[in-house]
Subunit: 707 residues, 2 copies
């Protein structure tokens, strides 16, 4: 995944405190907007920005309009967004969201990431080994029930346990009752809890994807930049019972595309923002977690690049992961630059002081919420103390390997399954098991050489960080060098075999305890210490922090009213904005680009990679209408996770698809600005032109009603 | 510089404790040899391994043979080795040693790194802006004088001061007396001091260099690997008074090249090894300095790669530096893997225990030297405490910029010049000033964009490591973001102008104090703290460590006799070995490769970069004799800094030129092995074939006597 995909692992714990945020190289002159003005906001579908839309754009959000958009929107569980674009389950997202699947169904003989893919008939559509699409059906507020379950004055441990129990229970009840995927979502960092129910599709097949050279034209240099000329799209089809799913809520294709100045909406799943974080929390990101994340990313990027350059097949094997790492690195660099910019920091400081002053000047508010900021700080102090170990062990950075991840999942699955549902770790609750099993039993390819390389490097890093004489390091390495140990573990494990994973999962603790598989033994070896850290995190960091943020959220509601949207949580949100260019270095940057511009951009770089258009484009160069719009920008409020989000007009028709934000948009992680920050999207008109004239994708053209 | 070039800054302090060592991904099965057996050793020219050569190879090292080789050998002050190959100052080294100069004389219009260069006439030879060649004329032992100057029982501060004073004085006296470049070299980590006198050449001109595609064929993937197919050569000419220098000691070209099984010698300047380091010292490298160095390198590699990929001109500007970083990274990864290999560590432990046991079992030795190991440990504890700050400030990692380096040099030059010679920092002593000024006043190009990028990134890293609220960080950033501050510094400084640097150098403290140049002001801002750290390093780390290692050296002499070579010090050494293949994964790896193999290797990788041979090779493919030997391996003991070292046969004739070591050779930093470790060289026969049939370099062919 790359660009606006959320850097996400499907099970939450592996990315504890390492969420990707997207924040840009902040120019010192950016003028930040005040809270919730302009086109700011990633709004909840059950609390849309009706007043702002009415006053600024004279637009009435009708419930029917909203429900249609909600049900036509699709969440990709690997970290992206998308939408249905036909009544037969046809879903569109970005190529870079689809790459995960495209790579998994590729082989040395058929590298579809490179060549692209088009199923000329329905029978040719290729099933993804591991992809789930979720459609949000309804939302229920469960804040009262969750909070009521936590006894007043309970210790953090008791509170965490009670809260986890009631959440697991709510999800299980909902699943049993509705059959829908049910997730309790924590909003406002703990201010509210809402139950989201999704219809899910697990039989998902690839229909069309262009060559990476077309989708990611300009490569890493152009990533997070604008002007852009990318056809970053991909079509999948959701199936039910072996037949294309019926999807009556789908977006109608507008063949004109987005127009300059028009109001547009974006429906998608922004992954994570930090706009409501306290100053101390932002400092923690700046001084602790971002530097940590950056150093991991630099190391991984070099490792994967070096591996990739050894051969074309290596490149193919590591491609998706390398892109994810590069994308995250570019985002982290930007995040860090923003946090190191005094202008942004003092603007955020002013916002915090304003709210704190309001709380301090009201005795009732002060008594109820006045200490919350210090309480957040206390949890961060605790987190600081365990941060490295938590990341190495519980987040698994010391064991950078799919096989280790599977081994740990099997070990914990056996243990957690023995507990009643309400006492389980969140990711092993009954409601979460189907998703977990889908990933665990996926037959996506695993490459021994790449696994051993990554594991060896991360074991070496672990030894560097903790010292070779650390007791657990010594046990983990078992008297071998990190590389030799990794080789032994990867060659020795049988977990590559899906049947073996199923056998161990079915066999429960007995099978796990009897197993002599070296990777299972390793996972068991580190699990006690890893769980100990996890429990400190859950009890002493996450729970009290959630309680403190709940107070700050209440304070914010009391001072500003309820017209505040929560930070992003990889759940469906509505953003809006205007199609609009901007000024940069005294130059006006156009709101749209064209096919002609793409050819010029390539020529400007001597058509050398990554600025090389694919042969299919060069061949049809003269057939294309060079004035057709290709990509465009707008002021909607988006962030990583919004990749593939549909862009619709007032009528609710599809005019584009989000695939990136410009470099100035990366501060949106912390603060909204529309001075130069823009969401970048592919034009629906550009897609139509390409499908017709470059790819002659007749079946798609007809299904989309293009002519 | 790359591969076996020493990662060196011309003035010692910038690389304090960050010397590049080359140490490989150690295979657990490597059987390490005991001390000084087989073809081990980087021997001093005034203490050659006569006995070993006699007994193993029945070779008599005559003084004349030795002196001729010594005076035909050339040190490249940017970190490499080479040799004279004609009586008219023609010197050969590796392309990757020459790249520094080749890039400096290139421009956007003429990228000689890419296209290669050949001066068809003497008039066309191009002067390097900043390159010095040194020829070792004689060596004088000054151990007694240095030690006598240090009063017994002196405090570390007094001892350091006295030792520095006497060394500066010795060098100045020698320079005045002989006019030769004079350097006191510390051997055995402090066990001996020897005065090396060099004839130096500062007018050096480029004669011939092949395309980078030929010299670095296989790129980073093949770096430190074998079999290899690289024509990694470059010819310069030393001038005196505007005329080619007369160099009566030059190596005769052997057109047959090296033969399987023959005895060969390598004369070159290995940069740094750690073979005599104590175990605690090796642990320090493993747990502290290597991880630190690696994280810097990963960060820089990503930074420079991203910059390079934006355009062809960017790639050209950053090329040499990126190669240096990649080469160092590959070496550091290998070094670290070796140190993390328990097999290597326990072998080293056994060596140390053997020596310590011998000392302990002799009352006299115990009394004199028994505490030395603990004394080394104490200095490392002190170093640990200042390590990060020392690296950030004194080694300048927080200010990764040529312009900052110049500003600091100017600031210190003014201050140090006011002191008597014997009280100056080593790098500002009278004897060292010419080299310092040659670099300071070089007109090598400086690129604002690259400077600002590097400086911004390193300032950001500095802020991450010390925290944004650190007092000095705050002063350095002056209320701006790291990127904005770097931009302001780079655009604002006038130090790009050589005349301005000369003006400030001439103006002394008065000019420096009056200067409002932002880079000068920055250098002045950090200098007090930087000097404070330097002085702790000099007094509390380096001096007592030197004293402790002097004891260990004496103990070693007492136990094993004087037949021990010192660790590498980037001074001339003699190594020897056999031309010989090896076995790997059950396969016999041939002692030589051929031109035919090069074409096969390219074809195997679909001729895609970096496995793409240049057009000149493809064009002459049919003209070449494909069976001509191209590269070969031998067992000589080499390390980074040996790049470009001549390989000679018994007759003292040139049969090859070192350009790399294989991956198994990288453990040579810590321990010698000849199981699979090999030095990799270009065949003299291969060079002749290429000059004749690919490059038609008639003038060179005739000067070298090839026909």
């Amino acid at each position: 995944m790359q660009r606006l995909t959320r850097m996400v692992r499907r099970r939450g714990n592996s990315m504890i405190e390492l969420r990707a945020r997207f924040l840009g190289v902040a120019c010192a002159l950016i003028v930040f907007c005040a809270v919730a003005t302009a086109d700011e906001g990633m709004w909840l579908f059950n609390s849309p920005p009706s007043a702002a839309l009415k006053s600024k754009y004279n637009f009435d959000v009708s419930p029917a309009w909203l429900e249609h958009l909600q049900k036509a929107s699709v969440r990709f569980d690997n970290g992206g967004s998308g939408s249905f674009v036909s009544p037969h389950g046809l879903a569109m997202t970005n190529q870079h969201v689809g790459t995960d699947c495209v790579q998994n169904i590729s082989s040395q003989a058929h590298d579809y990431v490179k060549t692209g893919f088009y199923a000329r008939t329905q029978a040719e559509e290729l099933k993804c080994p591991n992809l789930e699409l979720d459609v949000l059906m309804n939302i229920e507020d469960v804040t009262a029930r969750v909070n009521a379950a936590v006894p007043a004055g309970a210790s953090p441990e008791a509170a965490e346990k009670a809260r986890r129990a009631v959440i697991n229970t709510i999800e299980k009840e909902s699943l049993d009752k509705t059959g829908l995927r049910s997730n309790v979502v924590t909003l406002y960092n703990g201010g509210e809890y809402q139950l989201y129910r999704y219809k899910k599709y697990t039989d998902v097949r690839l229909v069309f994807v262009p060559e990476k050279q077309a989708a990611f034209f300009g490569g890493d240099p152009d990533n997070f930049e604008y002007p852009r000329y990318d056809l970053d799209i991909c079509f999948f089809r959701a199936y039910e019972n072996g037949q294309p799913a019926e999807t009556k809520d789908y977006l109608k294709w507008n063949q004109q595309g987005a127009k300059d100045g028009e109001l547009v909406f974006v429906a998608g799943n922004p992954g994570a923002t930090s706009r409501l974080d306290t100053m101390r929390h932002l400092e923690f990101l700046r001084d602790r977690s971002n530097p940590w994340g950056l150093s991991l990313l630099f190391r991984r990027e070099v490792l994967l690049r070096v591996y990739s350059e050894r051969s074309d097949e290596n490149r193919r094997r590591a491609e998706d992961e390398l892109l994810e790492v590069q994308n995250s690195r570019k985002a982290y660099v930007g995040m860090q630059a923003g946090l190191q910019d005094p202008a942004l920091f003092s603007e955020k400081q002013a916002q915090e002081s304003k709210l704190k002053d309001a709380v301090e000047s009201d005795a009732k508010l002060r008594a109820a919420y006045g200490k919350a900021w210090d309480e957040v700080a206390t949890t961060l102090h605790t987190l600081d103390g365990i941060y490295a170990d938590l990341s190495l062990l519980e987040s698994g950075q010391a064991f950078n390997s799919k096989l280790f991840e599977m081994a740990r999942t099997l070990v914990r699955l056996a243990e957690e399954s023995q507990k009643p549902n309400n006492a389980r770790l969140r990711e092993y609750s009954e409601a979460n098991l189907p998703a977990l099993e889908q990933e665990l039993f996926s037959d996506a390819p695993i490459y021994d050489d790449l696994e051993a390389l990554k594991l060896g490097d991360s074991l070496g890093m672990y030894a560097e960080m903790k010292g070779m004489q650390n007791e657990l390091v010594e046990k983990v390495l078992a008297g071998k060098s990190p590389d030799a140990r990794a080789e032994e573990l990867v060659r020795g494990t049988k977990l590559k075999d899906v049947a073996e994973r199923k056998r161990l999962a079915k066999g429960g603790t007995k099978a796990i305890e009897a197993s002599t598989d070296p990777m299972i033994l390793l996972a068991r070896l580190v699990d006690p210490e890893s769980r100990r850290l996890r429990s400190i995190y859950d009890n002493q960091v996450n729970e009290p922090r959630r309680q403190a943020y709940a107070k700050i959220a209440q304070a914010r509601f009391a001072v500003y009213g309820k017209n505040v949207y929560p930070d992003a949580t990889f759940t469906l949100r509505l953003s809006f904005g205007e199609v609009k260019g901007y000024e940069e270095d005294g130059k006006q940057i156009s709101w749209t680009t064209t096919f002609g511009g793409a050819f010029q951009h390539a020529a400007h770089h001597d058509n050398e990679a990554p600025f090389q258009l694919p042969a299919s484009w060069m061949k049809q160069k003269n057939k294309l209408d060079h004035s057709t719009p290709l990509d465009f920008v707008n002021t909607a409020d988006i962030i990583g996770g919004n990749s593939g989000s549909p862009v619709v007009n007032r009528a609710g028709d599809l005019v584009g698809i989000i695939f990136d934000g410009d470099i100035q948009s990366l501060v949106l992680d912390y603060i909204y600005t529309d001075k130069q920050a823009r969401a970048v999207a592919v034009q629906s008109s550009g897609i139509a032109e390409a499908l017709k004239k470059i790819y002659s994708a007749d079946r798609l053209i007809s299904e989309l009603g293009l002519h």
